[in-house]
Symmetry: C2
Subunit: 197 residues, 2 copies
């Protein structure tokens, strides 16, 4: 099976919402990426933060200029970084979002060596690095510091992090309607506790 940079099993194609009345119901079931993009649009719009998703890198093989530069042959490349970065409370943020259908643990096999290397560099430069982990079946989301995940990835014999541990080490993300995920509240808890007092 081919794995795409965003961790999904296929490219995310733009969907046309034929019935706008279904938007509310659909909101709940939207994928992790859409939920984070929705939160980012909210945070950016409210000028709370400025966080963007890096586009999926695509390797272009052939372009048809007779059709106004239409790409006729290309393939997905692996993202050598994480999917999201930006600025919040004057600090550089960098994170990767991962989803699992497991109800008990997050499998580390989901993470690429490139992403670990990138997040280590972020930490080295003084940035804030974390993962957003979605337990899709449970409909629960967490922010967990990247250094903890990196440590497990590199030093632990276990190939996953239990939900129990994630609850202890990370911070649960409050869910709502606008935005769908209040993930910066969890970031506040983990990284800005002093400035909240």
């Amino acid at each position: 099976m081919i794995r795409y940079p965003n961790g999904s099993e296929g490219p995310v194609l733009p969907k046309k919402n034929k019935n706008p009345n279904l938007a509310n119901a659909a909101n709940r079931g939207m994928g992790l990426e859409a939920a984070i993009n929705n939160a980012n649009a909210y945070y950016n719009d409210k000028q709370i933060a400025l966080i963007t998703k890096r586009p999926t890198p695509i390797n272009i093989v052939k372009v048809d200029y007779t059709k106004g530069a239409r790409i006729t042959d290309a393939y997905f490349e692996h993202q050598s970084t994480t999917d999201y970065n930006g600025i919040y409370r004057g600090r550089y943020l960098d994170f990767e979002a991962k989803s699992t259908r497991s109800k008990t643990s997050f499998p580390l096999g989901n993470i690429s060596v490139h992403q670990i290397a990138h997040l280590k560099r972020v930490i080295k430069q003084g940035g804030i690095a974390f993962f957003i982990i979605c337990f899709s079946v449970l409909d629960e989301y967490f922010v967990i510091d990247a250094s903890y995940v990196i440590d497990c990835f590199e030093n632990s014999a276990k190939k996953s992090i239990s939900l129990e541990t994630i609850k202890k080490v990370g911070c649960s993300i409050r869910q709502g309607f606008t935005p769908r995920l209040f993930y910066l509240e969890a970031v506040d808890q983990l990284y800005f506790k002093e400035s909240l007092l």
Copy 2:
């Protein structure tokens, strides 16, 4: 003529270097994007900074899964942000690189409204925002603060910034071999002068 998000007149296709002995000579003539990517690779490798290029966003229309998920129809989208961002000296950096063949001034028509809006948000969030401007015929490069460019873009009757002004307001980028552009030296001059004393 179609304009691509990176400001060039066509997609940047991966080039195969058939004769490695030509690499040195080719280095001088490399495009602005390649020169910045080269500098970023150097700075990232030396752990001086962590700056990445956002991939060009592509809208995928059709994927052929029988060929192992080959993209058979797609088109270039406009980047709604800038091309580069990252972290340096603990600060969030965000910039756009533009090239002109003019020998006397930089035409503001090169910049999109989206990029101006994005850079204003960066400044609002406390990030460092600038442009790298390349006078390709003169082989001269400058870093210029985004707030100056934004002000010209929004309030000036002129449709360009003269080279003379750029030399006064901005900072010239030293050129070398590895990296090709020492652009963070210019960033130091403009934004970190106090920490250099």
